[in-house]
């Protein structure tokens, strides 16, 4: 693979190879302040043509690597950066076996972490990105990594994947050089990647203790609501939000039961980002008390 790059993101390192230069250039720019990768890399991602001639003719990028999703559709070359990000996601989702992986957006303040998890489209990435720009440290917008041995959450500060309306919101708050290119017409609409701020990158090896679990739900007509979530419900929902719970055996069981019995969980409904942010601050203050 003529074009390639190594990336270290939190505790995981990736080796990304590509048949085309463009995606590697875009990745390099997006991750420019990140530390050197520790070798050997944890995972290998390959961006390659499905058929040899698709390298030049209507070039399309197939995502391959240590772990693959059979039947996944290739992406056009102009979305190569997205393919690389999806490839890294896939390796983590299918290959991470030491840390318990939760689909969640996580932020930290004062050494304590807020974990937001739940269905896609609930706006967790956007909330995490906004919190990360207003006094919180972003740990990650896609995956939370729970260490079964310590009960702490490890940061995985990938570039935040902002979609559609969220792009403009963050563009208004963050310097232009922290953004990747605008990707138009992806399967999920417009996407733009946002590099986490300096603090998030510099402190990417500092874990944090989970203090509050939130299950946010977004709906245009949803009245604002807050509800307590019991340990059993939280446990079941978190196993559903994990791609590798089954791989961790007894350690995973102990880690997750410990998490839900020692950490408060709440569900919130909101129809406006500002509402969600306000609810977060309120619940956080309550929890600290």
């Amino acid at each position: 693979m003529r074009h390639n790059l190594h990336l270290q993101i939190g505790p995981a390192s990736f080796r990304i190879g590509s048949a085309w230069a463009a995606p590697i250039r875009a990745l390099s720019a997006l991750y420019q302040d990140y530390p050197q990768a520790e070798l050997p890399c944890d995972f290998t991602v390959r961006l390659e043509p499905q058929k040899p001639w698709r390298r030049w003719l209507r070039p399309s990028v197939s995502i391959a690597g240590d772990y693959v999703l059979p039947g996944a559709a290739p992406l056009p070359l102009e979305h190569g950066l997205l393919a690389a990000e999806m490839g890294m996601n896939l390796q983590m989702a299918l290959g991470q076996k030491r840390l318990l992986l939760l689909h969640a957006a996580t932020v930290e303040r004062g050494g304590r972490a807020l974990v937001m998890t739940g269905e896609s489209g609930a706006g967790k990435s956007t909330l995490a990105a906004l919190l990360g720009e207003s006094g919180w440290r972003l740990l990650g917008d896609e995956f939370a990594l729970l260490d079964p041995d310590t009960g702490l959450l490890h940061p995985f500060p990938r570039a935040v994947s902002l979609k559609n309306g969220a792009i403009a919101v963050l563009e208004g708050k963050v310097a232009a050089d922290r953004f990747g290119p605008l990707l138009v017409g992806t399967p999920k609409g417009h996407i733009r990647h946002l590099r986490p701020n300096r603090e998030a990158i510099e402190r990417a090896r500092e874990p944090a203790r989970p203090a509050l679990i939130l299950f946010p739900r977004f709906g245009a007509d949803l009245p604002e609501a807050v509800r307590g979530v019991g340990a059993a419900e939280a446990f079941v929902r978190l196993t559903q939000a994990s791609t590798n719970y089954g791989h961790l055996g007894l350690r995973g069981f102990e880690a997750l039961t410990r998490l839900v019995t020692q950490t408060e969980a709440r569900a919130i409904d909101y129809h406006q980002t500002a509402t969600a942010l306000r609810l977060v601050e309120t619940l956080w203050a309550e929890d600290a008390a």
Binding site: L39, P40, T44, R46, A64, D66, Y67, R98, G249
Partner: protein, 337 residues
Amino acid sequence: MRGGAALLVRLLRNPIAAERIGPEAWSEVIAAARAESLLGSLASRLGGMPLPAKLGALLDDARRDAERARVQALWEAEMARRALARLEVPVVLLKGTAYVAAGLSAGVGRSIGDLDILVPHHRLQAVQAALIDAGWEWVKEDGYDDLYYRRWMHELPPLIHRERDRMIDVHHTILPLTARRRPSAAALIAASERLGNGLRVLAPADMIVHAAAHLFADGDLAGGLRNLWDIDRLVRDFGARQGFWTELEQRARLHQLLGPVARSLRLSAALYGTSVDIALAGPARLSDRMYIRRLLARDGWGRATRPAVRLAFYIRSHWLRMPPLLLARHLWVKARR
């Protein structure tokens, strides 16, 4: 030395070589090992060696994952045992699950997929009914494939457990009925050995015959390096037994698999340095080199290489499974979909 399958094989054969491998090359070995389902085996081979911390952590993960796979495989076997217990039918475990159930070195670090069992042909209906009763269901609904499977294949159409989401392959012999060679399922079952829990495994010589059959006479050599590693480990476990080589030759002849067994011994010796009986393995053949090229067709990025060789073996595997007329009809029906 370049990464990929060649370096992987060298390390499996001779773990001491690990001391001379740099971090970049390790990335390549690991990618190739993952692609060949040999990372667990490699991790076991390198266990106890002084290695850089990052690499050590990666291999620890692989060993732990292999342990999880072992627990899962043995559990599937146990649930099948419970489902079939009242039938009083001999249930012979095959492949990876058999190796871990019998505590063989071929099972150490092995990645294990589906549960494979061998049962007598005349009890198939009863076995099928009992499994479905206990929560397994058919994977495919397609009528044609079902007919094809039942008439020609050596196993039932695939079953998957409704809740555990794990597959079981129920074999009644070890090669498709369309293949040229006809192993004796009855002899395999008759010679099988009973484990403590009542499940059975093949006799040692038959295990090697089966592994060779699976490697050459059934597949296109995908996963071949791992299959061959199984054979290397089995030979190491049993090769020193009194009369073993004579037994292996006899069983290979009985099952009409002398050629594949001999070739598997030659290739295992060539790649993994296995000590084999020269008489049984026979002299090296020109075609052995093509097999080795196919087996090593994996680069340091985990990519399949050597497309021409791969295609040749792919066509050959279909040729072996099916007489030409049947193959034409099968491919035609598939193409029509």
